[in-house]
Amino acid sequence: MSAPTIIERFKTGLWYENPGLVQLLGLCPLLAVTSTFINGLGLGIATLSVLIVSNGLVSATRRWIRSEIRIPIYVLIIASLVTCTELIFKAWFPALDRSLGIFIPLIVTNCAIVARAEIFASRNPIGSSIVDGIVMGTGFALLLMAIGAFRELVAMGWLLAVLPPGAFFTLALAIAAKNSIDKRREERRANTVPQRAKHLNQQDP
């Protein structure tokens, strides 16, 4: 199998294997902070940067890490990076830090990050792992922003959207929309060319 191009990698992270929409990882922050666009943006950027660096570090140290101790090491790396991110937010974005509150330290528990370390970064070279962090993190961040923007807009007419149940409805709508788009494309492809499920087996893990 030839290595996927950068564009294909982006398509994978943003669409076909989007951490939030498809893998359904990291739902706790996704549902909790997306009451406004700016909160989604803030947490998205924080998660993205942690994911890029943690993927890089896990990949860089993968030679020396035996499989029995890999989980404590991931936890150690991710927890340190999140602490640094929290300090940086407190120092340079104090208002955003106050509105995100405890959800910045809680990035530690975002399973999307440890999942990418385990599934991808521990088995792939450093450059490729960083790209993985970028595409997956961007996919997650864009979803946070989209949901945040949607809820903020809808809340002007329908207050429920910013309340916790609104988060579940919005995410459900987003997943339904994605699945219906995928299905329509699939049908169109079936009608034109002899079909081959091009993206289904594309990403390795």
Binding site: W64, I73, L76, T83, C84, L87, I88, P94
Partner: protein, 208 residues
Amino acid sequence: MRSGITLAAIAAVCTALVAFTYQLTDERIAANDRAWLEQSLQPALSGLFFDSGVSESVLTIPAPHELPGSEDAIIYRVYSGVSPVAALFVVSARDGYAGAIKMLVGIDINGEITGVHVLAHRETPGLGDRIESSKTDWGKQFDGRSLGDPGTSGWKIKRDGGDFDQLSGASVTPRAVVKAVRETLEYFDANAVTIFAAATDADNEVTE
């Protein structure tokens, strides 16, 4: 054995990384906290007349002291001309659900509360965090209260037989805040004269 060494080495690197970031951000964070505090001072005074620069009259009470919290307590004194108007206490309630709840308690010269404002906390989002003045008006119920209103037995949340609203789903947090406010009032009641008579931190630095 080798695993242990690897783990220790990576732990050391990670600790160094955090320590370095802490060094880098420490000053800015302290400055931000100060700015946030000063920004919160005005609303905690709820329209009292005063003409002194609030942050110029700082008094630090070194720990241990009888105010809530284990850190040094900070008191901002507010004057109109030379007569004292109010004092603002920065204290921490320590028996919250998750760590200290840092808050600002304003008390005027008659012992009435001018405002309670939560500065920092780690309470559960959606439950305990409703004590924040940006989220609900829960903190407003303290305005105008004093040690006599309600009396000693009333300085509790309703669930414990007192006068103050709790928050549904979170009684630990309000209970801690009410207790800390009461303790601050008691301290003010016992020490008001000393507080206003004491020299400011700035004066102390000059004389020392």
